[in-house]
């Protein structure tokens, strides 16, 4: 009887401890709503560039899990007709409004120490409604309580069923160069 009581108290304490740990885990989240994502299509005939300044990212430093989300309509082209064609004809932004990445940082990092790290994140990359498993390499700079993530990678149009008809008069590269920069701040600050 007495040992039952001791156990009960013990488990209650564990539960409190765990919830405390979970509460602590919340503050290990780093996030931003103003990440910058640029892409460029380079061909000998024409370069097309666009920029999205409202990229979202969240990183859980206790697990290494990371998610990135961007809204296609936030990609800003200097040429607004191109922007309309991008949304209307290529990305079909009404049907597929966002591009996302959700995965895990494979490299083990001590987030409490400042420094520049080469990192690899593996997970699901979704654009134009098509999900691909991808491993994306980048750099992580931890300094003064902020985590800056930068990554350069390529996206093949054919991987995501983005069709460019033969009749189009402007050349669009089959491989799109993507540059991303996210400055993440701790969530509870």
């Amino acid at each position: 009887m007495k040992s039952w009581f001791v156990h009960a108290v013990f488990y209650t304490m564990v539960a409190v401890a765990v919830s405390g740990v979970k509460g602590f885990a919340q503050s290990t989240h780093y996030t931003t709503n103003s990440g910058i994502v640029r892409f460029s299509s380079k061909t000998p005939l024409e370069n097309i560039e666009a920029e999205n300044k409202n990229g979202q990212a969240i990183l859980n430093t206790s697990t290494g899990e990371i998610a990135v989300r961007m809204t296609m309509k936030n990609f800003n082209f200097p040429n607004k007709l191109m922007q309309e064609h991008f949304n209307e004809n290529y990305m079909e932004s009404e049907k597929f409004p966002t591009g996302t990445f959700s995965g895990k940082v494979e490299t083990s990092i001590d987030y409490s120490r400042d420094g520049l790290y080469d990192v690899t994140a593996t997970g699901k990359f979704t654009v134009h409604g098509v999900t691909k498993s991808r491993s994306i390499q980048g750099k992580m700079n931890i300094a003064s309580g902020k985590i800056t993530i930068t990554a350069d990678f390529q996206v093949a149009l054919s991987d995501h069923k983005i069709e460019v008809p033969q009749i189009v008069f402007v050349k669009i590269a089959q491989q799109i160069q993507v540059q991303a920069q996210f400055v993440l701040m701790p969530v509870n600050k």
């Binding site: 564990v14 409202n54 998610a67 040429n79 007709l81 922007q83 004809n89 079909e92 009749i167 008069f169």
Partner: protein, 294 residues
């Protein structure tokens, strides 16, 4: 040791769903309130009438439009194709919301000038605006009759274009219209004419849509002194990036508001239908992208 195991058991299930949770969190914290609803129509015209679309900044739209003769004119006239009237237009986006245009129609030798301003942009998202509204104002000079005083060659048009894109495929527009001729073409017609246009498009694929429009005029139709009908048109838009081809059938011969709203003499019921097309080619004068649009 026991404590550690319990901890582990409690934490693992919480972790497995964490990745999707992170994405959901991002969705919740999306701070952008409004996304513009673009491409309500493929072109600045639905068929004959203006759409809510304006040319984008530093883009020039070179338009060549043709209307052939009536398809019921028989094999001798090759079902209308022997006769053609045309309008050539240069239309330019001053800002992303304001455009100006000039044109010349062979029918009645008209020079037309217009400005178009997008007053309200339809948006989706938390800050929701249900419609786009564009103001259109135009004037022109019909120079065919040299006997007329200069004043009498002039007409004015004003329209409020209200459109809504109801989803990816379907858009509708209502266009209250005002038309004033300093001198009407026939004695039985008033100088002032009110009309309401209704038009729409349905996208069959990413690049092809079916369009239709009808202009109801506030006057008696087909009177002995003013043999005019309401304008009705159906057509297909084909967009190839930079080019828009609009192919259609219409009972109007003219391609400017004065003519198709005010002076349509054909009747669908009698088969007075004209085949026609608008060809629109967009050139970009954006410094960074000297070449044409995609």
């Amino acid at each position: 040791m026991k404590l550690y195991r319990i901890l582990l058991l409690l934490v693992i299930p919480a972790m497995s769903q964490a990745q999707d949770d992170l994405l959901n969190q991002l969705q919740k914290s999306d701070s952008i309130q409004a996304y513009p609803v673009t491409a309500t129509f493929k072109s600045t015209r639905i068929v004959n009438g203006q759409s809510v679309e304006t040319m984008k900044r530093k883009h020039l739209d070179f338009r060549i439009s043709h209307r052939f003769g009536r398809v019921n004119s028989g094999a001798y006239q090759f079902f209308g194709l022997d006769q053609a009237t045309m309008r050539m237009g240069f239309e330019y986006g001053v800002t992303d919301r304001f455009m100006v245009g000039v044109g010349r129609s062979t029918s009645q030798k008209v020079y037309d000038f217009f400005g178009k301003y997008k007053l309200i942009q339809q948006t989706s998202g938390a800050k929701h605006i249900p419609v786009s509204v564009t103001l259109f104002g135009g004037t022109g000079l019909a120079t065919v009759n040299r006997e007329l005083e200069f004043q009498d060659k002039i007409y004015y048009t004003a329209q409020v274009l209200i459109a809504r894109k109801f989803g990816e495929r379907f858009s509708m527009q209502v266009s209250p219209s005002y038309l004033y001729r300093n001198k009407s073409l026939v004695v039985g017609d008033d100088k002032l004419l009110w009309a309401v246009g209704i038009g729409g498009r349905y996208k069959l694929s990413k690049r092809v849509s079916v369009n239709a429009e009808y202009f109801w005029t506030a006057r008696e139709k087909n009177t002995p002194t003013a043999p005019y009908y309401d304008s009705m048109s159906v057509g297909v838009d084909i967009e190839t990036g930079g080019h828009v081809f609009q192919l259609h059938f219409t009972n109007s011969l003219g391609m400017i508001e004065k003519q198709f709203i005010g002076e349509t003499t054909g009747s669908w019921g009698k088969g007075d239908i004209h085949y026609g097309f608008n060809m629109s080619r967009t050139f970009s004068f954006d410094r960074k992208n000297r070449k044409s649009a995609p």
